[in-house]
C-alpha cells in the first residue's frame, strides 16, 4: 500500500487544484450544476482513496464535505457564501493534510477535529455514523443450527449472480443440508434458461454465528427472498438420524413454515439430548468394552440380498411403467415412493460390497517408498481413478498380484540410475502410475511405468531358447508379451530378492484368472511398460441413458454421456468425414444403424449422443432418447462371448430386453477402423 501512497498524493494534489478552480467557477455562478457535480466527485474520490492509502484524517474530513455537496447537487441545499468560504478553507486544509509528517500529526489531528466541528455547527450537518453492524452474537464457537429459506427472484442471474455460489458459501460454514424445491420449474418448452425457478430450503449447523450466515446473501438482498432463523442451539445435523428426518421433512413439505420447523425441532432436540447423554455413557463403557462397528456377513447371504434388490429394481420399473400407462388415482405417489426407496436400497446394498480401491492404494504407496529407497531409485507413484469401486473380496485378492507387478516395475522397469534416464531423454524421476477405471461391464487396473520397457526381440530369443517356439514360428507382439506370464520365463539376469519370492508373473495371471479376469502386458523398448488387469464387474446396476434405434432399445452408461444433440437425417448423411458439430468442436460420430446392422428407414430427426472415454469423444446416432434408466445388468451369456460392443442386457419395465452398449469398445473399434459408417 505504501508504494501507491505517492501516486495517491500526486493524484490528490491535482484534484485539490481542480477543486480550487472549480470553486472559483462556482463563485461566479452558484447554480452551475456541472461545477457542483465535479466538486462532489473530487470529494468522493478523495474520500475513497484517502483511507486506502493511510490518510484517515482526509477520509473523515472529506466525508462531511461529500455529504454537503451531495445534498447540494440533490437540491437540498443551496450554495451560500458561507459554504464557499468553508470550502476554500477546506482546500488549504486538505493541502496541509496531504503533507502530514509524524511531527505535525498531532497538531493536524486537532485542527481536523475542530474544522469538522465548525462545519457541522455551521450547517447543522451531522456526520452520519458508520453503519451499526448487527450486534454480533457472542459465538463462543458453539455450533448451532439454522434454517435458511432462499427464494431467488426469477431474474437473479441477470445481475451476474450464480445462486450455486451462495449455496457453496453456506455449506462452507459447517454441515449443511440443502433441499431444492423444483416445483416451480416449468415444462421444457416454456423453460427460459436465463431464469431461476428453483428455491432452496437449507439447514445449516455452524459455529460461525448467524451474521456469517446472513452475510452470505449480502449481495442478493434485493434479488431474492431470504429468511434466516436460528432453530436450535445444538448441532443437530451431526446426528444422521435427525439429519434424515429433517431432509425428508423438507423434501415433503417444501413450503413448511418456520414455526412448524420449530415444533419439529423441539422433538428432535429431545432425541438429540437423549443421544448425547447416552453417548457420554457409552464413551465410558467403550473403554471397557470393545464396540462392534462391523459385522461379518456370509457372502452367500449378501449375494442373495443383491439378487433380490436387482429383481426389485426390475419390477419397480414395471410398476413405474404401469403407472405411467394407466391413470390410477393415488398410484403416482406410491410408485414414486417405491422408486425412491428401491433406488436407495440399491445404492446401500451395493455399496456394502463395493469399496474404492483407494483403500488398497496406501499399501502400494508405502511399497514404492520403501523399495525406491532400497534400490536407490527416485520414483513418483501416481494414482488415478482411486474412487473406482470394486467388490471387497476382489480387492483383497488383487493386492498381492498388484504388489508384485509394482515391484517388477520398480526393480526391472525403472532404470538403475538417474543418469541412464537423462541419457534416454527422460525426466530424472521415474514414474509408476496406477490407473483404475470402468469400461462397459469391466474394471480396468493399469500399472504403467516409464522405465526401460521390454525388448520384444530379446523375449522372442528367450522363447526360442526355452523351446517354446521355434525360429520360424509366426508370433505377434501381443503373443510375445503374453509369454511373460508363463512360468519360469523371467528375463531378469538374477532373480532379485524382491521380485523372485516364488511369486512370478505366472502366479499373477493365475490369481487374476481366478477372479475371472484377464491380464495383459504391453511395452515399448526404452519407453516403458504397461500391465493391464481387466476384471468383470460382478452383478451390478448401472445408471444409463435409454435410447431407441428402430425397434431395439439400447442403454448407454450415463457416466460416459456428455451431451445430446439433435440433427436431421439429411444433415447426418451429408456430414463430411462423419464429423458433427458439438457446440464449438468437431467430433467424429458413428452411424449406429450401419455399425449395428439395423434395418429399416431412419427417421427424419435423429439424435447424437456425445460420449467420452479417456478424453476421446465420439458421437453415437440414435433415433430417440427415452430417458434415464437404472439398468440391472445381465450378461448375454456364453453364446455371445465374442460380441464386445454390447456388454450386457437389461430387462425393461415392459418385459422387453434392451442391450447395454460399451462406449469404450465402440470408440476403440471405430477409431481404429476407417469405416465409421454413415
Amino acid at each position: 500500500m505504501e508504494a501507491f501512497k505517492q501516486k495517491f498524493v500526486e493524484e490528490a494534489t491535482e484534484q485539490i487544484n481542480d477543486l480550487e478552480e472549480a470553486l472559483l467557477q462556482l463563485d461566479k455562478n452558484k447554480e452551475d450544476m456541472d461545477t457542483i457535480e465535479s466538486i462532489f466527485r473530487v470529494m468522493h474520490s478523495l474520500k475513497g482513496g484517502s483511507a486506502m492509502f493511510g490518510f484517515e484524517k482526509i477520509d473523515k474530513f472529506t466525508h462531511i464535505l461529500e455529504n454537503i455537496y451531495d445534498r447540494i447537487r440533490n437540491h437540498e441545499l443551496k450554495v451560500t457564501p458561507e459554504i464557499l468560504d468553508l470550502t476554500f478553507q477546506a482546500v488549504d486544509h486538505l493541502r496541509k493534510l496531504l503533507d502530514e509528517t509524524p511531527e505535525n500529526e498531532q497538531q493536524l489531528e486537532q485542527e481536523n477535529k475542530l474544522f469538522i466541528e465548525r462545519i457541522e455547527k455551521a450547517l447543522n450537518e451531522k456526520t452520519t455514523p458508520e453503519h451499526a453492524s448487527i450486534q454480533d452474537e457472542p459465538t463462543e464457537g458453539k455450533t448451532k443450527t439454522y434454517f435458511v429459506r432462499f427464494v431467488p427472484n426469477e431474474d437473479i442471474m441477470q445481475n451476474g449472480t450464480n445462486p450455486l455460489f451462495l449455496l457453496e458459501d453456506l455449506s462452507q460454514l459447517g454441515t449443511s443440508l440443502i433441499v431444492p424445491n423444483i416445483s416451480k420449474i416449468p415444462d421444457f418448452n416454456s423453460l427460459d434458461p436465463a431464469k431461476t425457478y428453483t428455491s432452496w430450503n437449507i439447514l445449516l449447523s455452524t459455529n460461525a454465528g448467524i451474521n456469517a450466515v446472513i452475510d452470505v446473501f449480502i449481495f442478493v438482498d434485493d434479488e431474492a427472498k431470504i429468511e434466516t432463523h436460528k432453530i436450535s442451539d445444538y448441532n443437530l445435523l451431526q446426528d444422521k438420524a435427525i439429519k434424515n428426518i429433517l431432509k425428508d421433512t423438507l423434501q415433503q413439505k417444501p413450503h413448511i413454515k418456520p414455526s412448524e420447523i420449530h415444533d419439529l425441532i423441539i422433538d428432535l432436540e429431545n432425541i438429540y439430548q437423549e443421544k448425547e447423554e447416552k453417548q457420554v455413557k457409552d464413551e465410558s463403557r467403550k473403554k471397557v468394552e470393545h464396540s462392534i462397528s462391523s459385522i461379518r456377513v456370509s457372502s452367500d447371504k449378501l449375494d442373495n440380498l443383491i439378487n433380490w434388490v436387482s429383481e426389485l429394481v426390475t419390477i419397480q420399473a414395471q410398476l413405474s411403467l404401469f403407472n405411467k400407462e394407466n391413470n390410477y388415482p393415488g398410484l403416482d405417489p406410491i410408485a414414486e415412493e417405491i422408486e425412491k426407496i428401491s433406488r436407495r436400497l440399491r445404492d446401500d446394498v451395493f455399496s456394502i460390497r463395493l469399496i474404492p480401491i483407494a483403500n488398497m492404494v496406501t499399501r502400494f504407496q508405502r511399497l514404492v517408498r520403501e523399495l525406491s529407497n532400497e534400490l536407490g531409485k527416485e520414483v513418483d507413484f501416481i494414482t488415478k481413478g482411486t474412487e473406482t469401486e470394486l467388490d471387497k473380496n476382489i480387492i483383497e485378492m488383487l493386492i498381492d498380484p498388484v504388489m508384485h507387478i509394482i515391484r517388477n516395475s520398480l526393480d526391472h522397469g525403472i532404470e538403475d540410475s538417474a543418469q541412464a534416464r537423462i541419457d534416454a531423454g527422460k525426466a530424472q524421476k521415474g514414474s509408476i502410475t496406477l490407473n483404475a477405471f470402468y469400461s462397459g461391464t469391466y474394471v480396468y487396473i493399469q500399472i504403467i511405468d516409464d522405465g526401460k520397457g521390454l525388448d520384444h526381440e530379446k523375449l522372442r530369443q528367450k522363447a526360442i531358447e526355452k523351446e517354446i517356439i521355434t525360429e520360424d514360428t509366426q508370433i505377434t507382439e501381443k503373443e510375445i508379451f503374453d509369454l511373460v506370464f508363463t512360468s519360469g520365463f523371467s528375463t531378469a539376469k538374477e532373480v532379485t530378492n524382491l521380485s523372485g519370492r516364488g511369486v512370478g508373473m505366472d502366479v499373477v495371471k493365475q490369481k487374476i484368472s481366478e477372479l475371472r479376469g484377464e491380464v495383459e502386458l504391453t511395452s515399448k523398448k526404452g519407453k516403458g511398460t504397461t500391465v493391464t488387469i481387466k476384471l468383470p464387474l460382478t452383478l451390478s446396476i448401472i445408471d444409463g441413458l435409454l435410447v431407441r434405434i428402430a425397434k431395439t432399445k439400447f442403454v448407454i452408461p450415463l457416466a460416459a454421456v456428455q451431451k445430446i444433440y439433435e440433427f436431421t437425417h439429411k444433415e447426418i448423411e451429408e456430414s463430411i468425414n462423419n464429423l458433427f458439430l458439438a457446440d464449438d468442436k468437431r467430433v467424429p460420430f458413428i452411424y449406429l444403424r450401419d455399425a449395428l446392422n439395423i434395418e429399416g428407414t431412419p427417421p427424419e430427426i435423429e439424435r447424437i449422443v456425445n460420449v467420452e472415454f479417456q478424453e476421446t469423444f465420439m458421437g453415437l446416432t440414435v433415433d430417440e432418447i427415452i430417458g434415464e434408466y437404472q439398468a440391472v445388468l445381465k450378461p448375454l451369456g456364453r453364446m455371445y462371448k465374442d460380441v464386445d460392443i454390447v456388454s450386457g442386457a437389461t430387462i425393461l419395465g415392459d418385459g422387453t430386453v434392451a442391450l447395454v452398449l460399451d462406449p469404450n469398445r465402440l470408440i476403440n473399434e471405430y477409431t481404429n477402423k476407417e469405416n465409421i459408417g454413415g
Binding site: M639, V643, I645, V646, G648, A649
Partner: protein, 180 residues
C-alpha cells in the same frame, strides 16, 4: 417265444427314450426331453448386433436373458418367418463343462415321442443332408424320418449343421435316404 427270451428281449428294448419333436420347414427333428425346460410362445426377440446370423437375439425369460437361436438357419434353411405355430423351445445343455440355457426358434412343435432303443436307427454316415455327428439317430414315422439331434454338439460349434456337399445332391439320382 418262450418266457425267458421274451423277458430278455424286453430288457434290451426296455430303454425308452422320450423325445420332443419339432418341425423346421418340411422336416421333423427331435430333442431328448432331458434337455427341454419348457416351450414358449413366440415373444419379441432383441437382435444383438455383430453376432452370427443364426443367433436370432435374446429374450426375457422370467428375469433372465436367454439367447435364442434360429434353428432353420442353423440347419441351412432360410430364416424363420413367424407364424402362429412358431415357438421357442428352452433347452438346458452342457457345453464344454458349463451348463448353458438357450432357446431355439422352431416352426412348430409336434409331439412327444416315446421311443424304445430298438426303434432308433443309426443315421447313415454318407449321403445325408446333415453332418452325421449331429444326428444321434433316426426314427421312421409313416413315410418320413424324424432326426434325433445331438444337441450338445450342435451348439458347441459355430458351424451350420448342413453338409457342404449339399449342392451335389441335386446331381445325385433318386435319394432314397431322405425318404421323400
Amino acid at each position: 417265444m418262450d418266457a425267458q427270451t421274451q423277458t430278455n428281449k424286453k430288457n434290451v428294448s426296455d430303454q425308452v427314450h422320450t423325445y420332443l419333436s419339432f418341425r423346421l420347414g418340411k422336416e421333423v427333428f427331435a430333442a431328448s426331453v432331458n434337455h427341454v425346460v419348457n416351450i414358449l410362445e413366440l415373444k419379441p426377440i432383441t437382435k444383438v448386433p455383430h453376432a452370427p446370423e443364426y443367433m436370432s437375439g435374446v429374450i426375457n425369460l422370467r428375469g433372465q436373458v436367454l439367447p435364442v437361436i434360429d434353428m432353420r438357419i442353423k440347419f441351412g434353411m432360410t430364416p424363420t418367418e413367424p407364424t402362429v405355430d412358431t415357438c421357442i423351445i428352452v433347452l438346458n445343455l452342457e457345453i464344454e463343462n458349463e451348463e448353458v440355457k438357450l432357446g431355439i426358434l422352431v416352426d412348430a412343435v409336434s409331439e412327444v415321442l416315446e421311443l424304445e432303443e430298438n426303434q432308433i436307427e443309426p443315421s447313415p454316415s454318407i449321403g445325408t443332408k446333415y453332418k452325421a455327428e449331429f444326428i444321434k439317430g433316426m426314427w421312421k414315422k409313416d413315410e418320413s424320418f424324424i432326426m434325433l439331434l445331438n444337441l450338445d454338439l450342435i451348439f458347441t460349434r459355430d458351424e451350420i449343421v448342413v453338409v457342404e456337399e449339399k449342392t451335389n445332391e441335386a446331381d445325385m439320382p433318386q435319394n432314397e435316404e431322405t425318404g421323400e
